[in-house]
């Protein structure tokens, strides 16, 4: 009579087999210790057409495909850049290091940019890292909670002398990125199916990824604009942030007209949801 295998031990054993990256025979052998004294045939019955191992391999074969599907949904441009084989290898290694511990696959790829950064064997690693950071930012922004942007009426109601001490609160669906490669242009070229995407050369860039009307948008920024927007989004009073931006730029400091254009663009894009430092009534407008 076959030895009884308690439910908990059975599940731990089967999971080891299912997530094993090798062939099913290797997977069964690797997991055998957690099954002892039972053997495979004591636990899984053969069918009319398949052995016990072949039946198990159905689950084992589906696991990497499911993981790859989930990560491809979040990182389509990275997959395109690496190609099917290299992306498949990356997924296999990644899920071995960072298996899903959540009820949702939406968060499976959260550590992928960092994993890419530390994967020495990856071709054009720096470019891949920046591309993965961009795609993760887009995924996060897509799913963030909806926070209605400041209305034009609320902005118009602020007395001019109060702006310097005010803080602007950014919408939740906003991420700022400084990159060292032209990954935004690469992403565009993939989305627009251009024949020749840009080469993975070094080229610094700055951008804000945000959501407007439930659509994910990307806006490229100059370096000074990125610095100013980062300070404002981090909660610096506007006066201090603007002063810092002017000093950072030195002789080419943004003038009044430039600052006005930036803020008008950011307000128009709905990047801010609130004003801090005003009487409550002004925020309610």
């Amino acid at each position: 009579m076959a030895p009884e295998v308690p439910l908990d031990r059975l599940q731990r054993w089967m999971q080891k087999v299912v997530v094993h990256p090798g062939r099913v025979g290797e997977a069964v052998a690797a997991a055998a210790r957690s099954l002892r004294p039972a053997r495979l045939d004591d636990v899984i019955l053969p069918s009319r057409t398949l052995t016990a191992a072949q039946r198990l391999s159905i689950y084992q074969n589906m696991y990497p495909l499911r993981m790859e599907d989930a990560l491809e949904a979040d990182y389509p441009a990275l997959k395109r850049f690496l190609g099917d084989e290299a992306f498949g290898r990356l997924v296999r290694d990644y899920v071995a290091a960072f298996p899903s511990r959540s009820y949702t696959l939406n968060r499976l790829g959260d550590q992928l940019p960092e994993f890419v950064r530390t994967t020495a064997a990856l071709r054009h690693r720096g470019f891949c890292h920046d591309l993965a950071r961009l795609e993760l930012a887009m995924t996060e922004v897509y799913d963030e909670v909806e926070t209605p942007p400041l209305s034009p009426e609320a902005v118009a109601a602020v007395p001019p002398e109060r702006w310097a001490t005010l803080r602007l609160r950014p919408i939740a669906a906003l991420r700022l990125l400084a990159v060292r490669h032209p990954v935004n242009a690469y992403f565009d070229s993939i989305r627009r199916r251009r024949a020749r995407p840009p080469r993975p050369r070094r080229e610094a860039g700055w951008l804000v990824v945000f959501r407007r009307d439930y659509g994910v948008r990307r806006l490229e920024l100059s370096r000074p604009a990125y610095g100013l927007l980062s300070d404002v989004a981090a909660g610096q009073p506007l006066g201090e942030a603007v002063t810092a931006a002017v000093r950072r730029k030195g002789r080419g400091a943004p003038g009044e007209a430039q600052l006005y254009r930036w803020f008008r663009q950011w307000m128009g894009s709905g990047l801010f949801m609130g004003l801090e430092g005003l009487e409550p009534s002004a925020n309610r407008l």
Binding site: V43, L45, Q54, Y63, R66, R101, A173
Partner: protein
């Protein structure tokens, strides 16, 4: 009628991202939508906005894949809290998941892994179903899975296990007639025996779907039209249960909405002729 008076919602289809625009713009004549719980639990973006528009016009039921009711890890209380909140937000008529486990030791393999059918597993699952029903403050509805392995440690058939579970845990059943067919092929039993054994008054919903026959086994792929044998099982079961909410599942290689809806509407030809004029079901529970 089932013990909880859960209504016959008619013929529905799954709410899928690729159909969002069609549903919002065309407002198709479909009786109800089934909503994949995990797709909406952690997003504040467009998907949730679309769901809110859908529930304004159509009844919905929630269907999950991550409850892991047969798993040996503790129940995920955070998941249950979010599930309950989503059910309230959508005024879901019921909440369903699968008789399976999805991972162990803190890990999630995101597959519907099969249970051994024995007394230990039954006691374990009954206890967890009762806990979940208590948290959700409504009866849980469980779906019979497709499976590719049979455990030597099983001491009863799947239909006996499911029938006892439904009664002892006081839960509803989502009878997937395609899954019955798939498992009958893979394990070599008569699917009519299964259909005839399920407690008819516990069935609150049907699933019908297509599959992929690989010759040696059948995969539950939800990627095609249902075969005639599956529809005949549906007809056989409807004779026992009367008309029960029915949903057509199409999750892979998803065609245009109208193709899915046309396949779903085939169910009308196999259902019982209504004894009285069709009831109007209130939008929302």
């Amino acid at each position: 009628m089932n013990p909880w008076n859960l209504p016959d919602l008619g013929i529905g289809v799954g709410l899928r991202t690729v159909h969002f625009n069609h549903i919002l713009e065309r407002r198709p004549d479909v009786d109800w939508f089934e909503v994949l719980s995990e797709n909406f639990m952690d997003t504040g973006g467009r998907a949730l906005w679309v769901l809110d528009r859908v529930v304004e016009r159509y009844p919905v039921a929630l269907h999950g894949v991550s409850l892991s009711i047969g798993g040996t890890d503790p129940l995920d209380r955070e998941y249950l809290r979010k599930l309950k909140a989503l059910a309230a937000r959508t005024r879901a008529h019921w909440v369903s998941d699968h008789l399976c486990w999805t991972g162990v030791a803190g890990r999630n393999v995101h597959d519907l892994l099969p249970m051994p059918y024995n007394e230990e597993a039954l006691r374990h699952t009954v206890g967890r179903v009762r806990q979940v029903s208590e948290v959700l403050e409504r009866p849980l509805v469980l779906e019979n899975p497709s499976s590719y392995v049979e455990f030597a440690t099983s001491t009863m058939s799947e239909w006996d296990f499911l029938s006892r579970l439904a009664v002892e845990a006081d839960c509803g059943l989502l009878l997937d007639v395609n899954n019955v067919y798939v498992s009958s092929f893979n394990h070599g039993f008569d699917p009519r025996v299964y259909i005839d054994a399920v407690p008819a008054d516990r069935v609150v919903q049907y699933h019908v779907a297509g599959h992929t026959n690989k010759g040696t086994h059948i995969l539950d792929t939800h990627s095609d039209h249902a075969v005639k044998e599956v529809w005949e099982l549906y007809r056989r079961s409807c004779r026992r249960t009367g008309n029960v909410a029915t949903l057509y599942e199409w999750d892979d290689a998803i065609p245009d909405f109208d193709v899915v809806l046309a396949e779903a509407r085939k169910a009308r030809a196999y259902r019982e002729a209504p004894a009285a004029p069709a009831r109007r079901v209130a939008r929302g529970a």
